[in-house]
């Protein structure tokens, strides 16, 4: 693939010229439809870098692990997360090199499993998926004695379907051609807002009662960056660590609130969730509110402070007595 080839070439140049000490990119995962983060320090290793719709991890997550200059292969959402981290002063801009790669969406593995009734590790249904390939807007999945070709656009992550930033808004180097596309409006959210409080509460009760409190959503989130997370804290214990529904809802309220104004809807939390909780609605609602109230969109510019660490005297206060 052309993009992969240019990524490798640029990666080699960056490492050889000493512009970055470590480059974070993607390499082939151990299972089909998966990719692993690759941490390349040596320009001889650049050939392991890949880029395809299975590269779904948000690589901004890893930058805090490294000293020196860090380069990141960034899709639109990764790029926005990186910008958010710079705005939040988690990394110095001079230490960060963003290699932007326009992305036309990543796959949601679960949609593929559901469509094919197959899974890399399950022997039920069609059995295991052995291999997958992406070409020309299709994903070709092979099993032991079967092969299926699926339309890529039908198995993209939900967040990719409404993505407005396929190209990172802030980058140091762009590989490939900028994709300009107007994301669709979030109809789901608009419809949900119209429901009654009772209906909404029931929905969240049902959805969040699936949660097993594994915190995978927190672990994969690049903006969940506290060294000492409030849910791990026991003195004081703000809320229980059990899967009691009230405690679980507290957790998700706090998680959504803490990522307000910083969540870029990369969908990593939804893809990481082992029980398939859909928390995007909460994040989306706050994203909307931040945009409407404070005119702020996360990760599109380095020039504006995070909305909750700034204020304007003329902020609306119609809800205050």
């Amino acid at each position: 693939m052309d993009i992969e080839k240019s990524i490798r070439e640029e990666a080699k140049k960056l490492l050889d010229e000493g512009k970055v000490d470590v480059l974070i990119g993607y390499k082939k995962g151990t299972l089909p439809l998966r990719s692993s983060p690759a941490f390349i320090r040596n320009s001889e290793d650049v050939d392991s870098l890949i880029f395809d719709p299975a590269c779904s991890n948000n690589l901004a997550l890893y930058i805090k692990r490294f000293e020196g200059k860090v380069g990141v292969i960034a899709k639109g959402c990764d790029g926005r997360s990186l910008t958010t981290l710079v705005v939040d002063r988690q990394i110095d801009k001079d230490r960060l090199f963003v290699v932007g790669v326009p992305c036309s969406g990543v796959v949601d593995r679960r949609k593929i499993y559901a469509k094919l009734d197959a899974c890399p590790r399950l022997r039920s249904g069609r059995g295991e998926i052995a291999d997958c390939q992406f070409s020309d807007g299709r994903v070709i999945v092979r099993g032991r004695d079967w092969q299926e070709s699926l339309d890529l656009s039908a198995v993209l992550s939900d967040s990719c379907l409404i993505c407005r930033h396929k190209t990172p808004p802030v980058y140091d180097l762009l590989i490939g051609e900028e994709i300009k596309e107007e994301g669709k409006p979030v109809e789901e959210l608009e419809a949900f807002k119209k429901k009654s409080p009772d209906e909404r509460w029931r929905f969240f009760e049902e959805e969040l009662s699936k949660c097993i409190r594994c915190y995978a959503c927190r672990q994969v989130c690049p903006v969940c960056l506290c060294e000492y997370c409030i849910v791990d804290r026991t003195m004081p214990l703000w809320f229980g660590k059990t899967t009691d529904l009230s405690d679980t809802i507290m957790f998700h309220l706090i998680r959504a609130y803490h990522t307000a104004g910083r969540c870029v809807d990369c969908g990593a939390c939804v893809r990481a969730c082992p029980v398939g909780v859909d928390f995007r609605l909460l994040n989306k609602r706050l994203e909307d509110e931040v945009k409407e109230r404070f005119g702020f969109t996360a990760g599109v510019t380095l020039g504006e402070p995070a909305p909750l660490s700034a204020y304007k005297e003329e902020d609306k206060e119609e809800f205050i007595m």
Binding site: W201, W238, M250, L253, R293, P307, F319
Partner: protein, 143 residues
Amino acid sequence: METKDWQPKILAFLCNWCSYAGADLAGVSRIQYPPNIRAVRVPCSGRVDPIFIMKALQQGYDGVLVSGCHPGDCHYISGNYYARRKFALIKTLLEFMGIEEGRVHFSWVSAGEGEKFAEVVRKVTEDVKRIGPAKRLVKGVEA
């Protein structure tokens, strides 16, 4: 629970410099207001982490009021401006999730506004009474 003598419990976070003094003025002026609030004195409305509000609801308070200085009057110059942004989001989030509108209230009450403080408490108590006892998010209660 829902008997006719049910009285709501409302937790009120009052900023030390304005609203707490406002409550004091209401007291010394002998202004009557409902005895449903439990006041917590905080240094500034900016001190009120939204988790305080969630926790109060989880612990079974029927309503929460956060009150601070008017914009421009903050003892710490800008605490209430930051607070205003936080409150806007937490109110949106709670109500989006299905917590009844009217459980969580915010107000600006200065040290000289004893009558306004009483009025705010009357309004909040009335609102919470109208909604009834809290069930959602309360630990150990089936909503």
